[in-house]
């Protein structure tokens, strides 16, 4: 096992897995409880479209990913709030638009499409120090914001209408969560990939959701499961020569299946005092 971390690229990959696992796990809690599961896939494709535009026009793909994913997040909130659409429909509309843009930019990119494929599947083993720094910065920011504004986030995530009615600026908090999800996806794009990040956002949080009635514990478990999925996937990739991104996704899916199997919520049909 120790030999695995003798290589610098594996140390970077483990750190990237730590950060992506924490940030995606934490933001996944918001996605799972508020039934915004399409949100992850929508923002992931927006980030992918932005990064592809960067490749096409010759600027840093990360900035394109960040701008597009934040723009997608900025559209989803008002579409759901003012457009008389349920949030899932709003997310679906933005998702299909971003998917169209992504394929348009891939089609317009001259030459081999290796960059596009690498963004689609991710390449945690080739993550650069700069990518790692961005990922660590966004993860740290999310953890700090979560600690500072936990009470507002708890109120909005669990019952947004109640939060608004008691005087919490629920709309500001909701949009803040959307933007944080956008930023998380953008900085994780190169590491986990546009297609695979959806599962890292959803599976660890969905597994945590099965195991606790405490939101604090759910955040903690989701982050832990996210990191565990990444590291398990990395180990699988290292020892059995499997594709890393796919291993991470399968690890997180197995983790969810295990949580569902032992879930006290699934077994509990009536509450006993």
């Amino acid at each position: 096992m120790g030999a695995m971390f003798e290589h610098t690229f594996m140390q970077h990959a483990a750190l990237a897995g730590l950060c992506a696992g924490i940030s995606c796990g934490l933001m996944g809690v918001f996605v799972v409880i508020m039934h915004l599961s399409m949100l992850g896939i929508c923002i992931a494709h927006a980030a992918f479209a932005g990064a592809m535009l960067g490749i096409l026009l010759g600027f840093e793909p990360l900035w394109g990913a960040l701008v597009f994913s934040l723009a997608a997040a900025a559209f989803v909130g008002p579409l759901a709030d003012r457009g008389q659409l349920n949030p899932d429909s709003a997310v679906g509309i933005v998702f299909s638009f971003m998917l169209g843009l992504a394929f348009l930019f891939v089609g317009l990119t001259p030459g081999a499409k290796t960059h596009a494929l690498s963004l689609f599947w991710g390449s945690i083993l080739t993550v650069s120090t700069t990518d790692l720094a961005y990922l660590a910065a966004v993860t740290a920011l999310i953890v700090v914001l979560l600690v500072l504004f936990f009470k507002e986030i708890q109120a909005v995530v669990c019952h947004r209408r109640v939060a608004f009615a008691v005087g919490i600026p629920a709309t500001v908090v909701f949009y803040g969560l959307l933007f944080a999800t956008g930023a998380t996806v953008a900085v994780s794009l190169r590491t986990v990939g546009g297609l695979l990040i959806y599962s890292l956002l959803l599976n660890p949080a969905a597994a945590a959701f099965q195991l606790t009635f405490s939101l604090k514990w759910m955040f903690f478990l989701a982050a832990a499961f996210g990191v565990f999925s990444c590291w398990l996937g990395l180990a699988g990739s290292y020892f059995w020569d499997l594709p890393t991104g796919a291993s991470i996704v399968i690890a997180s899916s197995l983790l969810f299946a295990a949580a569902l199997a032992v879930s006290p919520k699934r077994r509990m049909t009536t509450w006993r005092r």
Binding site: K151, E152, A155, A163, A165, I168
Partner: protein
């Protein structure tokens, strides 16, 4: 003299090209207990949503507790309004307990970056005790029955220390025995606290007996208003609930 708690002047609300409230004017004095009665679709919930700042009127002026609900101070105003909505289904797996959801009532007043202190927790305990739900404090919110959920919603409103209560059909979709318990609880709270209260219902049987004034609402207009006894005369109510609006002229 203290200004009225609620002042609505020529308020209209339009949505989807339909007018829900028509040029409605209303004054509610501080400390009064007002019932709002009307058939489904009369605009009762919309009226509460306008007062609470959840729906912006297309025209007219709204002043609640001396503040405008649609300006920057809207959040501060809402922290002073305890609203009890209709019971709604809650995901059984939702990760929030009864105590935590009641504590949320204190967050609006606390504001950003301030943690609830011992005083806030004491308020939550008092509110849970007032509605007889102390023993449910650690239970997940999604594990409550409709009646228990409404008691918790009332506890949440109490924990806000509000200057105005808005009750939006709190007994809807609850069995009749529990309905009368909830109504008795609302009457008790008003008697004990004397806080201005607006109680909306479509069901005469669930209108609290201690409402001094009753507003009859129909098709987005105040159809009649006045003392409880006068408003609840049989002929007047029969006309209010008549299916054809042409037959329903104010008595």
């Amino acid at each position: 003299m203290q200004p009225d708690a609620i002042v609505l002047e020529n308020v209209s609300v339009t949505a989807h090209h339909a007018t829900i409230l028509h040029n409605l004017s209303l004054r509610v004095a501080h400390g009064s207990f007002v019932g709002v009665l009307g058939p489904n679709g009369a605009g009762k919930t919309t009226l509460l949503n306008v007062i609470n700042g959840l729906i912006r009127p297309s025209s007219g002026e709204v002043t609640v507790l001396g503040k405008k609900p649609f300006q920057w101070e809207g959040h501060r105003l809402r922290s002073e309004i305890g609203r009890v909505a209709q019971a709604e289904p809650v995901d059984r797996r939702l990760p929030i307990t009864v105590r935590e959801t009641v504590l949320v009532a204190r967050y609006g007043r606390l504001g950003w970056l301030r943690r609830p202190g011992p005083g806030d927790h004491a308020r939550v305990n008092e509110a849970l005790a007032a509605v007889g739900m102390e023993s449910f404090a650690t239970r997940p919110l999604g594990h409550l029955s409709g009646g228990e959920y409404q008691r918790v919603a009332i506890a949440r409103a109490l924990a806000q220390d509000p200057r105005l209560f808005l009750f939006d059909e709190p007994t809807a979709s609850i069995d009749p025995r529990v309905q009368s318990e909830i109504v008795a609880l609302v009457e008790e709270i008003h008697a004990a606290r004397g806080v201005t209260s607006l109680y909306v219902t479509h069901d005469l049987a669930t209108l609290p007996k201690t409402c001094e004034t009753v507003i009859l609402l129909r098709e987005g207009r105040i159809w009649a208003s006045g003392p409880r006894e006068a408003m609840l005369e049989e002929a007047r109510l029969a006309a209010l609930y008549a299916r054809n609006s042409a037959t329903g002229t104010p008595a």
